[in-house]
Amino acid sequence: MKYIDEFRDGEVAQSIAQAIKAEADPGSTYHIMEFCGGHTHAISRYGLEDLLPANVRMIHGPGCPVCVLPVGRIDAAIWLAKQPGVTLVTYGDMLRVPGSKRLSLLKAKAEGADVRMVYSTLDAIKLAQANPDRQVVFFAIGFETTTPPTAVAIKQAQALDLKNFSVFCNHVLTPSAITQILDSPEVRELGTVKLDAFIGPAHVSTIIGSRPYEYFAEEYQRPVVIAGFEPLDVMQAVRMLVRQINDGRFEVENEFARAVTRDGNEKAKSLVADMFELRRAFEWRGLGLVPYSALRLKEPYAAWDAERRWDVPQDSPPDNKACECGAILRGVKKPTDCKLFGTVCTPENPMGSCMVSAEGACAAHWTYGRFRDLETSHA
């Protein structure tokens, strides 16, 4: 397929790997965090870590929207699904994420709640049109990539004067999460997690552009390379970051220029700016309360805000004690550091959110990485 296969060429990957090996200073270490789950997935799937020299290490970041949503918001969605007359719709990945007491939306559905999966927000609108006697609530999650589609749906609901559609908004912002990681005691004071550079989001950046990362490249003196999700994109980004680190530069570079510009998608950005405002703080799994890191609907759109229509519980129950998702999302631990990994917790029976989405660090490692562990432990 065009724009896919050319970016997966194994021989080219080898030659980029050689270039990295030649350029990386054997006396230094390079710790590179990939923020996006899409990159985590590519790294596991194509075994990219095996191509990199031992002193260049990838650290998985928190960039999977399914993984970072705290238990309390999942409980709240389940609560909404159980309200009389409500049909709760959401993207497929959300259905299996365990809330507290191990209840998920899928289990709530089995117990009689009306929960449906949609592929697109437009399907949610169609469902509301077709079921005027039900209150259709769209459980909206995701980063800057899924926010504009939610905005389009609300615009449509407004145009159609749909009274039975609303949104339970959980949209979160990437740059504030990266800032939170760099401000965390592990990175700042304890020095337990060394972070030299970031691979910046691919599809998020198609919307917000590369400009928002300029601030923290400058402020935190860390290089950032925006990269696509194909394996060659990731390898090339690593090489560009190794170069920046060697040169003592901290700039924002764009490897994904085929789809990302400095300013991003103005149409989508203005739609979002018109409809959403910042929440003062929002809880992220693993990162705690992050200031100004999430969005909610502005007052003129209150009619479509599920949190204003219903008295949605705002509890924050703790994560399952044995699950290490929180530490994994901060880059402090690896999936294999979790006692439950691959025993009690598998993609079929996930205990934590990192095992649910294909872009979660635990699921990616379970699907593609665990045979590597076997090889290394037998070697």
Binding site: M1, K2, Y3, I4, E6, F7, D9, E11, V12, S15, I16, Q18, A19, K21, A22, C36, G37, G38, H41, G63, C64, P65, V66, Y91, D93, Y119, S120, T121, L122, D123, I141, G142, F143, T145, T146, P148, P149, V152, A202, H203, V204, T206, I207, F229, L232, D233, Q236, R239, E255, A257, R258, A259, V260, N265, K267, A268, L271, S357, A358, E359
Partner: protein, 78 residues
Amino acid sequence: MCLALPALVTELLPDDSAKVNLGGVAKTVSLALVSDVKPGDYVIVHVGYALSVIDPEEAARTLELFREMGELAEDVPA
């Protein structure tokens, strides 16, 4: 959840939507978030929406960079 793929726009449809070919599968996607898309363009599709149009020149430039590096790497003893 964030995975999105490049798809070829094959036909513009009413209501700001288009028919695309996504690895051999025909799908209808919304063009509400992009401007000036025409058949023959490649767009990045996510949750049923085109998020951006792929710039063929930039794509060619990136591939060219990979190739140059391949040649470079051959000169460096591994």
